[in-house]
């Protein structure tokens, strides 16, 4: 009986309800361009996007670039709905290396040794998941994987397990890669 139930559940098809792509100073939601900037750096692009989209979340300015990327992409599809039962499964290639280097610079020289606590707290890739979770009061599963390349099947399989377990109703999935000025975010919402 239990096996039959599991089989029926497994047959449910996952639905991708919304998606967002951010790259080359441009944000696209469900295939439609929603913001574009002439900024030459990611920092300026993110700031322009924050202002233009009227996000009104001052903590955004304190985030590192990886968190800004993931946060902005997530904001585009999470909006103001209740996401307490939404899980987050993200991945990238460069982990938090961009911020790791910045932190290293602050402790390189003995004469100018001033490690920054505010930079240090971002020297883990899953901090961006935390920022999204805090903003949307998410209270279920989350994971961040470091992979050689975007593997949609891997992320979908992981998300499917979370959804089938009943621990979440939706999963925010995707790729949030950033190192220096090279970045790309592709995030999407999955449900059963």
């Amino acid at each position: 009986m239990r096996l039959l139930f599991w089989k029926n559940v497994k047959m449910k098809v996952m639905k991708k309800t919304d998606s967002c792509i951010m790259e080359h100073s441009k944000i696209t939601v469900n295939g439609d361009p929603v913001f574009e900037s002439q900024s030459e750096t990611f920092h300026d692009f993110a700031k322009d996007a924050y202002k233009s989209l009227e996000l009104n979340y001052p903590k955004f300015h304190k985030m590192d670039n990886l968190s800004k990327l993931a946060f902005l992409a997530a904001e585009m599809i999470l909006k103001d709905e209740d996401h307490s039962r939404t899980a987050v499964v993200l991945a990238n290639r460069s982990s938090s290396l961009d911020t790791d280097f910045k932190y290293q610079e602050s402790i390189n020289s003995q004469e100018n040794y001033f490690p920054s606590p505010a930079v240090f707290v971002y020297t883990l890739p899953n901090i961006c998941v935390g920022e999204i979770s805090i903003k949307h009061k998410m209270q279920t599963e989350n994971a961040f994987f470091v992979l050689d390349e975007f593997d949609e099947k891997f992320l979908t399989d992981y998300a499917e397990q979370i959804l089938l377990s009943g621990k979440a109703e939706k999963v925010l999935c995707g790729w949030t890669e950033l190192f220096q000025e090279n970045y790309k975010a592709f995030v999407y919402l999955l449900t059963l």
């Binding site: 700031k47 001052p58 903590k59 300015h61 304190k62 001033f114 490690p115 920054s116 606590p117 505010a118 707290v121």
Partner: protein
């Protein structure tokens, strides 16, 4: 002293990335924590680094930060009395 207070406001905005806050909005007696600036415990640690880096003050007991970082007034008075650069 007034110059130091203005300098501190500029530095706090820059170091703590308070992009939406202007110097004019920070009053000398306003509480830095628990008030409108929305500062947290990581910001307190950054202020300790700022004291060391810019004014040569090493805060041996971080608990003292609670008194020192009450407002721009208290912070400026502490720097004035203890600065080594």
């Amino acid at each position: 002293m007034e110059n130091l207070k203005t300098e501190l406001k500029h530095k706090i905005i820059e170091v703590l990335n308070l992009e939406d806050v202007s110097v004019e909005e920070i009053k000398d007696t306003d509480p830095l924590f628990g008030g409108g600036l929305g500062l947290d415990s990581i910001d307190a640690l950054e202020l300790i680094v700022l004291l060391d880096k810019d004014y040569g003050i090493k805060l041996a007991d971080p608990k003292k930060g609670k008194e020192i970082f009450q407002s721009i007034d208290t912070m400026a008075a502490f720097i004035e009395a203890n600065r080594t650069k």
